[in-house]
Subunit: 324 residues, 2 copies
């Protein structure tokens, strides 16, 4: 039987990261209006959220500013205008993708920025570029995390090499990322065990970012909690690419640290998330995402299926089964 965590107690080392603007932004091209962002920020403060990820540092050479909302780029002046200086205990984070971010230029010294954390996202095979970004961000004074994406498609031997490289880097937190929503809790347990070994060896924290393709985003997150993983990504109403993420309301309902408070989360969902869904923005578990999850595929075909308003699920399944 599993080594059980103490469900009635809590670990102070747990950190909750709200990724609504960042992963949710992938659903609406980051077109959140300022009032939504301000209310989300205030809600996170009231809910006891530890980190708020507000979007990407996307390359303006690569992405057309007219086609995306401001949280695709997270310019310091936009953050200051909408959120302000953020003189609170909650820290602000952005994601920076390998190959899609002019980090030397666009990420400024922490002293001159409202940001606190740079979250580097990489595939296992671009680890040297990720480490260059990690070192750059660390030199500029940031806390730095690294997401190794799509690990359900990576050989365990390669993951170990990546973890070894990250272990020797100045990164603070290494994330388990189930990009395709393909992993079961049992697999998360094994992967967490592996990551925790490297974390212990190199004094790194471990985090988890789950997707809900198989209705397991929350389950995989709390499995990881029980395994000792401390950094937990969640989004309001599970908003995120495709099937979405671990829901903040599920997670804060589970965590027992009295600093966390589910009530403002419920208020925000009623006031801001449900209207967003009613406006036609679509995310969340559905059959097409289960299918790509089961087949361990990127959900892009399922997202296209959703956006096209298709309902021929069986035909879609045949299409993605045939991808050789």
């Amino acid at each position: 039987m599993k080594e059980l965590s103490n469900l009635l107690g809590y670990r102070k080392s747990i950190k909750v990261v709200d990724a609504t603007l960042r992963d949710g932004g992938l659903v609406n091209n980051f077109f959140f209006d300022d009032k939504f962002v301000q209310l989300l920020y205030q809600t996170n403060l009231r809910a006891g959220v530890d980190y708020m990820e507000i979007g990407y540092k996307g390359s303006k050479e690569m992405f057309d500013k007219k086609k995306f909302g401001k949280w695709k780029f997270c310019d310091d002046e936009d953050i200051l205008a909408v959120i302000g200086e953020n003189n609170t205990d909650m820290k602000l984070a952005v994601m920076a993708d390998v190959g899609r971010c002019n980090y030397r230029q666009d990420i400024h010294d922490r002293k001159s920025s409202p940001l606190d954390v740079i979250r580097v996202a990489t595939y296992a095979n671009t680890m040297p570029a990720a480490i260059d970004m990690i070192e750059d961000a660390k030199k500029k004074g940031y806390e730095v995390t690294c997401n190794i994406m799509a690990i359900s498609n990576v050989q365990e031997g390669d993951i170990k090499v990546a973890l070894e490289m990250l272990g020797q880097s100045p990164v603070d937190v290494i994330y388990i990322v189930d990009s395709f929503g393909a992993l079961y809790p049992e697999q998360i347990a094994r992967i967490a065990d592996l990551y925790m070994q490297f974390g212990a060896k190199y004094n790194k924290q471990i985090g988890i970012h789950a997707h809900n393709n198989q209705q397991l985003a929350f389950a995989n997150t709390i499995e990881a909690v029980g395994d000792g993983v401390n950094w937990l990504d969640a989004t309001y109403a599970g908003m995120g690419r495709g099937a979405g993420n671990c829901s903040m309301e599920n997670l804060l309902g589970f965590l027992r640290n009295p600093k966390y408070n589910i009530f403002p989360v419920l208020q925000f969902i009623e006031k801001a998330m449900i209207p967003l869904q009613k406006s036609g923005i679509k995310w969340g578990y559905d059959l097409q995402y289960l299918m790509t999850g089961l087949l361990n595929q990127h959900p892009r075909t399922a997202i296209q299926f959703t956006n096209d308003g298709r309902e021929d699920y069986v035909e879609f399944y045949k299409e993605i089964m045939a991808q050789d």
Copy 2:
């Protein structure tokens, strides 16, 4: 770390039970049309489902036949007219509730009935009545299972007494039932361990019936699989009371026994379940069910909230928090 089950192998002792008509019937008062039932039956055969639960043996003195569809009562002649003799390897089951079933009169000898299994549902405090029903059904030649409902509100000492009583009864399978969707996988692991001890002592199989209030119905079911639980309830598209059940499509996607086949499941969902949802029949995860799950309450208030078309989630939360 948890003792891991072999994800690439399978246990032949696992049995999948389709509870769509029974638990799903609680959503639409059992008004399934005959073609739906016939197609579901054919689908279960193609999908490799082991048991099909077709409804309740409801007391006709207690329930008005005009207010419910035929699967509230499951008369032998109705089964024969719609499903037929069922000369297949899949077995047919009905549920019989303590206090809501004239079992001596309405459950006939197995030889003269198309039914194979009687599933007795009881609360812990009506165990003697349940055992009388179990003995009656066993004498009539049936396989018999017993659901101890709402165990998240029962003292562990009382559960042990109930398991001891069931152990000494002729019941074949004892079910873990998370009626309120209140339990986390870690708790399922502990409960499964307890039930498995009694199962080993008295040579009984253990089953699980989960609810999806916290998006954990599937996760709790596969947690139980990893713990050695063999009888697994699921419903198509998760159809069931309130937040619904473990989805058949999730479960068959997870199980590795080649006898199970997800493809007909996907076909049935597209052809029959999605039209049912579009017709206005509502079930599945939503905030109000999360709330009752978190508070370990019966979902009846949340079902009422849903049926009333209410959207004031925060007000609802305040209402159910105030129930002392």
